[in-house]
């Protein structure tokens, strides 16, 4: 009998799901594009004129050109870099806040729980888009403000989920057993409970990632996001004037790119939940 860790088991289940594998490949492909673009290997010349203004898609220019004669394809790639960086940055900010606050609230309960619960319910009672807009207005426009704004709004769900799971697990006998052999609070919480709820972090991150991408598009569309760089949101914003003149390719390029990654993340998120969440397992 071979020794399988739970993670290996989960990966095996995931790789049996063909659709999920395709989604995983798409996500990896987007990450690759984003990394290559940020290192300057692709799309570094996005701001140069490659042809006449508003050329329709052709063999030379797959997605056509924009009003300044720049390649829409290169702009979409550049936009991918922005979108993925927003997702990553939002996760880096949201995961530690969500996990630590959620774990503390769930484990200690009492007044700790009261304060943290009050804090996140207050936070989540303000519509996210309002919060996003006000944070970007305070911090000033630009990509950095978008990172902070998205990170600050997306920890709430994770915190709530982790709190609930930790509450459930702290009553389990294996945690009591850790107490009986002399383990302290930190050991019980970080060594025993957190590894058992870590699947929540992964599933939630894949869900939050797409929300972050969408929010960036919305913010940029509203003119509060990225400045001076192409993003899917600004491209869609530009398109609303162009559409009247029959220039549809800028809108099509940005929407298609966004549609694919959101779909992939949705499928992957579902598949991850099936593979990792022990509740849904047959046993």
């Amino acid at each position: 009998m071979k020794t399988n860790t739970l993670w290996k088991d989960a990966f095996k289940r995931l790789s049996n799901d063909k659709l999920a594998l395709v989604a995983l490949v798409i996500v990896c492909f987007y990450f690759l594009i984003a990394i290559l673009s940020s290192l300057g290997f692709v799309a570094s010349g996005w701001s140069q004129e490659v042809g006449a203004s508003n050329l329709a898609p052709s063999m030379n220019h797959f997605f056509g050109t924009d009003i300044f004669g720049r390649s829409v394809l290169l702009k979409v790639i550049r936009g991918t870099q922005i979108a993925m960086s927003v997702g990553v940055a939002a996760s880096i900010i949201a995961i530690p806040i969500g996990v630590i606050l959620g774990a503390l609230a769930g484990y200690f309960g009492g007044w700790v729980d009261d304060i943290i619960t009050w804090f996140y319910t207050t936070f989540s009672s303000v519509p996210n888009i309002m919060l996003l807009i006000s944070i970007t207005l305070i911090l000033g426009k630009g990509i950095f403000a978008v990172y902070i704004a998205l990170g600050a709004t997306s920890w709430v769900t994770l915190c709530r989920l982790i709190r609930g799971e930790v509450m459930k697990h702290k009553e389990r006998e294996y945690v009591q057993a850790a107490g009986a052999i002399g383990g302290g609070h930190l050991r019980k919480l970080f060594r025993h409970i957190l590894p058992n709820v870590s699947h929540i972090i992964i599933i939630n991150t894949s869900m939050q990632f797409q929300i972050a991408i969408k929010s960036e598009v919305i913010l940029s569309y509203l003119g509060l996001g990225v400045q001076g760089e192409p993003s899917w949101g600004t491209m869609i914003d530009d398109a609303k004037l162009e559409l009247v003149r029959g220039v549809w390719w800028q809108l099509a390029g940005a929407t298609l790119a966004m549609f694919l990654i959101l779909l992939a993340f949705n499928i992957l998120g579902d598949a991850l939940r099936d593979a990792l969440d022990p509740k849904l397992k047959g046993k």
Binding site: M1, T3, N4, T5, L6, K12, R172, E173, Y174, Q176, A177, A178, G179, A180, I181, G182, G183, R187, R191, H192, P195, N196, G282
Partner: protein, 576 residues
């Protein structure tokens, strides 16, 4: 042959497609259930008994489960040829089922009356009012007090035994011809188990039903089954009248099952297990006579040992919240003034039903729960109010083995990590290699192989996991161990092995046990002294060898009479 049997299973094979290939869960199983008779199907977990019942109900997990061969004839019709629509008309109507876990088998958001009425409305086309009246009638029949009021209750407002009665009422609501009971009493206390068994027997007689009773414990079906089918590793190893099984079992596995349940009164020094009767490959073995010899606990000459643990007037209470702002309005005393003394190297057994406070008492002694008043004196020192480092040092000497081997091991840690963790906490044994050596030594002591230590808990069976829990408790070389229902979740055959192991370890390491259980026969076997707990108090305490003969309290006697006798009360039946 007088008439056609109601259910006839012929050469049934069930296979499951798993990650590791095809696993045969049921192999060429054949048996008959005659009209109005009860068949007991006995075997340990994984023997294929539940899979057989699911196949009869047409509830096998699709598409993993397949039936490549065999017939299931119900009144002469092969159920395997029925489609899902036809099966649905049979299920719940002609064949119905009671499950093991009454806590999770009822829908928590509906009143129990509605849930009973639902089946009636689906299958019998009764109006809402008629169905409700019938449901109340049924609840009366299964012995739920004040059925008109109880029908309006939600599942969480009822006790485990009452919920199981509701499940039974649902199952018999459409007057099925066949009732399948899958371990219906395993999750219940012994006294409740006895009542449920009596109820099932009464209803079976009244409704002239046939019954298929599945259990891992041969003891419980003596009172109820006409015929017994014994299953072992997917095969039927023995089929006979219940009386013949109990009087003269043929197969070594059946003999082992009968012998491994501790009896009230005298037992061998170590319980007999299936492996005493049978080799690994199923060959019969001669049981050495010294293994069977009854051991008299009174014959042991008492050495004057010192008192290791003394508990004085211990009270543990939990707040009852109420009112608009969730203030504490009252206290519930889970442990209400308990006192006892326990000598070194001895075992105190604590018996009582769920909710009597025995688990809370155990955890309070270990200071996992804070006592409200009273004193815990361990080894001459009052430990009721020690904290921090002192408490941590105390944890080395006092350990606990929990009830559920499935939830008491961290699923994300390997066995070697689980076993070396206590050493890390208390900084014992220098390098990791040294710690692993200590773990290896102990894992072999509890009967597992040391090359299995890199595995995760889910790769072990229930009995093996409980051995791992025991090894973890012993890593710190404690003097005192609390076993909290440590064998209750195990099959009887595994239970005997674990009890023997606990006794062996006690002898080797000079351990002192507090053994908590709801099963008096287990406590009677393992303990030197027995305390009977009721509503937070110890109401009776005596030597284990005496309490079953001279119980003074009515409650103790009711606990004693509820223990399955492991024999039939009916005359042999005449079916063939």
């Amino acid at each position: 042959m007088t008439s056609l049997p109601l259910l006839s299973v012929r050469d049934l094979v069930v296979e499951f497609q798993t990650g590791e290939g095809i696993v045969r869960a049921v192999n060429n199983v054949s048996f008959d259930i005659p009209q109005g008779k009860t068949i007991g199907i006995v075997g340990e977990s994984g023997s294929g008994k539940s899979v057989t019942s699911l196949a009869v109900m047409g509830l096998l997990q699709k598409p993993a489960g397949k039936i490549p061969q065999g017939q299931i004839l119900f009144e002469g019709q092969d159920l395997l040829k029925y489609n899902e629509d036809q099966m649905r008309k049979i299920r719940g109507n002609q064949i119905s089922m009671i499950f093991q876990e009454p806590m999770t088998s009822l829908n928590p958001v509906f009143k129990v009356g509605e849930q009973i009425a639902e089946a009636l409305r689906i299958h019998k086309n009764l109006s809402k009012k008629e169905a409700w009246e019938k449901a109340v009638h049924l609840m009366n029949q299964v012995g739920i007090p004040h059925p008109e009021i109880s029908a309006h209750k939600f599942p969480h407002e009822m006790s485990g035994g009452q919920k199981q009665r509701v499940m039974i009422a649902m199952a018999i609501s459409c007057e099925p011809k066949l009732l399948i009971a899958d371990e219906p009493t395993t999750a219940l206390d012994v006294t409740i188990q006895k009542q449920v068994l009596e109820l099932l027997y009464k209803l079976q007689q009244e409704y002239r039903m046939s019954m298929m009773f599945i259990t891992h414990d041969l003891g419980v079906i003596g009172d109820i089954a006409d015929d017994v089918v014994v299953m072992y590793r997917s095969n039927v190893v023995e089929k006979n009248h219940a009386s013949n099984i109990f009087m003269s079992a043929q197969h070594p596995y059946t003999k082992g099952l009968l012998a491994c349940r501790p009896k009230l009164g005298a037992n061998p020094k170590r319980l007999l297990t299936v492996s005493d009767f049978m080799t690994e490959d199923g060959q019969e073995k001669i049981v050495p006579s010294e293994r069977v010899q009854v051991f008299d606990k009174e014959s042991v000459i008492e050495k004057d040992e010192k008192v290791l643990l003394e508990v004085k007037d211990l009270v543990t209470q939990f707040p009852i919240k109420g009112g608009l702002f969730g203030r504490t309005v009252d206290h519930f005393k889970a442990v209400n003034g308990v006192s006892f003394q326990l000598k070194k190297g001895k075992t105190l057994g604590l018996v009582g039903e769920s909710g009597c406070g025995k688990t809370t008492l155990g955890r309070t002694i270990l200071r996992l729960v804070e006592p409200a008043s009273g004193n815990i004196i361990y080894d001459g020192k009052d430990i009721t109010h020690v904290y921090h480092e002192e408490l941590r040092q105390l944890r080395r000497k006092m350990q606990i083995i929990f009830q559920d081997p499935y939830s008491s091991l961290n699923p994300r840690m390997t066995i070697s990590d689980i076993l070396t963790e206590p050493l890390n906490i208390h900084k014992i044994g220098g390098s990791r290699a040294e710690k692993l050596d200590m773990a290896r030594e102990l894992i072999e002591k509890v009967g597992l192989k040391s090359n299995q230590m890199s595995r995760y808990p889910h790769e072990f069976s229930g009995g093996q996991r409980q051995r791992i829990c025991i090894a973890r408790a012993l890593m710190l070389k404690p003097e005192f161990v609390i076993c909290d229902e440590s064998v209750s979740a195990l099959d009887v055959s595994i239970q005997a092995q674990v009890l023997n192991l606990l006794l062996d370890l006690q002898q080797e390491f000079g351990l002192t046990y507090v053994f908590i259980s709801h099963d008096l026969s287990v406590v009677n076997f393992i303990a030197d002294e027995v305390g009977v707990m009721y509503a937070g108090k110890i109401i009776e305490m005596d030597k284990a060898s005496r309490i079953y003969k001279n119980a003074t309290q009515e409650y103790t006697r009711s606990l004693l009479s509820a223990i399955p006798k492991g024999q039939t009360k009916q005359a042999p039946t005449l079916t063939v």
